[in-house]
């Protein structure tokens, strides 16, 4: 036990000075590391490059070159059936981007819809999966829990099962007269036709409360769809995917939290217990702060992953448009409509969005750390 790296005592105390100090420590260590590399002989440098060259080569061929090609394609009208450099391919400037962002029309409307659907997916999945994963990790980390191994395996299982298989099962469960609706009927509830119901759950709730006519201000259009539609909430189909994603990914993140929890020394927890902390206080003020790095990692991975959701949508998507996401839309307009330029433009807008969201999140986390 004593060989485990103990938590930074200052950070544990939660003082701003401590946090700053510990950051400086880490920075210092990194600088020292870099310095050592610079001092190495030229031969070692060559050897180093030689060792990383296969990985670099793979990155170039499968990432850098395709990305550059995609940037080029997003400014053309390439149809995908010739070489992208053929004479029949014309440069179209920013028109692929303009038809998504500024020109009213179906492209903009679909892009807006996909952004809205995905936004609600992110807003629901990220907090839900993080909370569930953390809770599961705490539960299976309990030393007094019997059959811990079994529970860990059971909770992790959905993560290692093929997402295609799970989605197919969900499609069956959530059919109009599927198992879920049959169970709901036992309780006297008539379930919706989940995957085909394009109404947002917030607007359905408002309808049930007697609000039928959207207020005038909500008719304003943003990215081709009205504010009322932006506020409509996830569709019933999207709710199915939210449940599915929360269930499948929480296992993976549970593992990350579990690893972090194992790093928490029991002595610290015992000490807080002796100091008279309740179990909630112990979790909130002792355990949780020590899980911060894991929490940041899980949130970052969660934000990036949820903005790229594709496979589940592909399986559900062809039936209807109740679960559109930019990643799926990009694929659809490229391969079904042979408008690869437009598809590439969607991909880059999605990329920009993910970068911005991640930067904002990092900024927030940083501020939180220094306070």
């Amino acid at each position: 036990m004593t060989t485990l790296p103990g938590p930074d005592p200052d950070l544990l105390a939660g003082t701003a000075a401590g946090a700053r100090r510990s950051r400086r420590h880490r920075l210092g260590r990194r600088l020292v590391g870099r310095g050592r590399g610079n001092g190495a002989t030229a031969g070692q440098n060559v050897g180093g490059w030689l060792f990383v060259s296969p990985a670099l080569g793979i990155l170039m061929v499968f990432l850098v070159v395709p990305i550059c090609l995609a940037i080029y394609v997003s400014f053309t009208d390439w149809s995908g059936v010739t070489s992208p450099f053929a004479s029949t391919v014309h440069g179209v400037g920013f028109s692929n981007y303009a038809s998504l962002l500024t020109q009213p029309g179906l492209s903009q409307q679909l892009f807006g819809t996909s952004l809205r659907d995905n936004l609600y997916y992110v807003l629901f999945v990220v907090p839900l999966q993080t909370a569930l994963a953390l809770w599961l990790a705490v539960v299976v980390n309990n030393r007094f829990l019997r059959g811990r191994g079994l529970f860990r395996l059971a909770f992790y299982f959905p993560s290692v099962t093929s997402s295609v298989a799970i989605t197919t099962v969900f499609i069956f469960l959530f059919q109009g007269s599927g198992a879920v609706n049959k169970v709901l009927r036992v309780f006297g509830i008539t379930g919706p036709n989940w995957l085909y119901d394009s109404r947002g759950i917030f607007s359905v709730a408002l309808n049930n409360l007697g609000v039928h006519n959207p207020p005038a201000w909500s008719g304003h259009l943003f990215l081709g769809i009205s504010l009322w539609q932006w506020l409509a909430g996830p569709s019933f189909g999207m709710c199915v995917l939210i449940i599915l994603a929360t269930w499948t990914t929480s296992g993976t993140f549970m593992l990350l939290f579990l690893a972090a929890l194992q790093g928490v020394s029991p002595e610290v927890e015992e000490a807080s217990e002796i100091d008279g902390a309740s179990s909630w206080q112990r979790f909130r003020h002792v355990t949780l702060p020590m899980l911060r790095p894991a929490l940041v990692l899980v949130l970052t991975l969660g934000f990036i992953g949820t903005w790229q959701v594709f496979d589940q949508v592909t399986l559900v998507g062809p039936y209807n448009q109740t679960t559109y996401t930019p990643a799926y839309l990009s694929y659809y307009v490229s391969f079904q409509d042979n408008q690869f330029g437009q598809g590439a433009a969607i991909a880059f807008l999605l990329f920009a969005l993910i970068v911005i969201v991640t930067l904002i999140q990092r900024r927030l986390v940083k501020e939180d750390l220094t306070q």
Partner: protein, 419 residues
């Protein structure tokens, strides 16, 4: 269920990429000019590749057998590639500069491929256009050039469960909308819907055609989605849907109308001749009959047709052998073999007539050919259509309005024609 989903998948695939034919009346077809082309490569000792999207094991086996027979007779080799994701794999092969020598191609894509100069206009070397149904030739004609030989086609018809029909004490099969509505109403009971119609333009369009409506004008220069005839047709569909006597597959937890029909959840369905194979293999106990689609108030008959052609890329180094292969594949005898193997209708008029004579069950499907309407060929229409299809299921609850849906469809489609 699994099988039906598969059939559906292949249908959607076929529908999506075939999306063939012209729209509007099929009779008037200008004879296309014969293109001057030079064939390349030798006639024998050549290795060809054939890529296709298969509807199932029966089709794959039939295509493989045909390829083997031709290779043996002409001392060539054919590498048969059944694609799992056909459109995507075909695009990849073309973009990579290694297109297959022969491939399936729907006319929605013919425009894309032809305009990029990727397609060899070999068709007139194989047979004169008059050997095929005019509508099919027109479907593969871009800018007056007939590009490829139509492979086969499928039409929609009305399928009726005869056991339920007799139990309801009904007489003659419906030939008009009012009869259809009355019969469907009589058949709707005990959780069975009178009629199940796929929730897509590729099925509902048949009602447009029956009412004298269309997708586009005859010259294919303008869309006509929000015509009064189409609005009236969709209003008719909605009136049946609201009463629950017409239901869409998702309302019945079915992947497609054929599944609802096969499981006995619907007494009637409007599907194409592909349903024959599905009924035979998945629901053999159901007794049913197919009749031509009923006529609308105008007394006009109407149906939809879906088709594929044999494409040869202009970049093929062995186009001489490829043309000879397609000649074999689209011969009278071979078309009959394909038809018997997986239930498609031969594109040669003579072969289709003979096939219908041998198989009375397909007569109702063939009957629609003279007036059948084909899907919109315009590049980019797939997204526009899917926006329409999404709303179809809401017709039943009144959540969607036919007029608004068709106006939207018209606006979105018009945007495609703008340069």
């Amino acid at each position: 269920m699994k099988r039906a989903t598969k059939v559906l998948a292949s249908l959607t695939l076929a529908g999506a990429m075939t999306a063939g034919l012209s729209t509007g009346a099929l009779a008037s077809t200008r004879v296309p000019t014969a293109a001057k082309i030079t064939l390349t490569g030798k006639a024998t000792g050549v290795k060809l590749s054939l890529m296709f999207g298969s509807s199932g094991p029966a089709e794959t086996a039939a295509v493989k057998a045909a390829a083997a027979a031709w290779s043996k007779a002409t001392h060539n080799q054919v590498n048969v590639i059944p694609a799992s994701n056909f459109t995507q794999q075909l695009d990849e092969a073309f973009a990579g500069g290694t297109p297959p020598d022969v491939f399936y191609l729907g006319s929605q894509q013919v425009e894309t491929f032809a305009k990029q100069g990727e397609l060899l206009p070999y068709a007139s070397l194989v047979a004169p256009p008059k050997a095929f149904y005019p509508a099919l030739v027109k479907a593969y004609t871009v800018n007056h050039t007939w590009y490829c030989v139509p492979k086969d086609f499928s039409n929609l018809a009305l399928e009726i469960n005869t056991t339920m029909w007799k139990a309801a004490g009904l007489g003659a099969y419906p030939t008009t909308w009012s009869q259809l509505a009355a019969d469907a109403k009589a058949l709707t009971k005990n959780g069975v819907a009178g009629l199940d119609v796929g929730n897509t333009l590729d099925r509902l369009g048949a009602f447009f055609a029956e009412n004298g409506g269309s997708y586009m004008n005859a010259q294919r220069t303008k869309f006509t989605f929000n015509s009064p005839q189409n609005v009236q047709a969709l209003d008719f569909v909605q009136s049946l849907a609201k009463q629950g006597i017409l239901q869409f597959p998702p309302q019945q937890s079915a992947g497609w109308a054929g599944e609802a029909f096969g499981l006995g959840k619907a007494a009637m369905a409007t599907e194409g001749n592909w349903i024959i194979g599905a009924m035979k293999s998945s629901y053999p106990s159901i007794k049913w009959v197919a009749v031509p689609m009923p006529a609308g108030p105008s007394g006009k008959r109407g149906t939809l047709t879906f088709t594929n052609c044999w494409g040869i890329p202009s970049a093929s180094k062995n186009s001489r052998a490829a043309v000879s292969f397609v000649k074999y594949l689209s011969s009278y005898q071979q078309q009959l073999r394909f038809a018997n193997a997986f239930g498609v209708l031969p594109s040669r008029i003579a072969a289709a007539t003979a096939y219908a004579k041998q198989n009375p069950s397909v007569a109702a499907f063939v009957a629609g050919t003279p007036y059948a309407m084909a899907p919109v060929p315009t590049v980019g229409f797939s997204t526009v259509q899917s926006q329409f299809d999404t709303q179809v299921v809401n017709l039943a609850t009144g959540g969607a309005n036919p007029r608004t849906m068709l106006d939207q469809l018209q606006t979105n489609a018009e945007a495609l024609l703008r340069p």
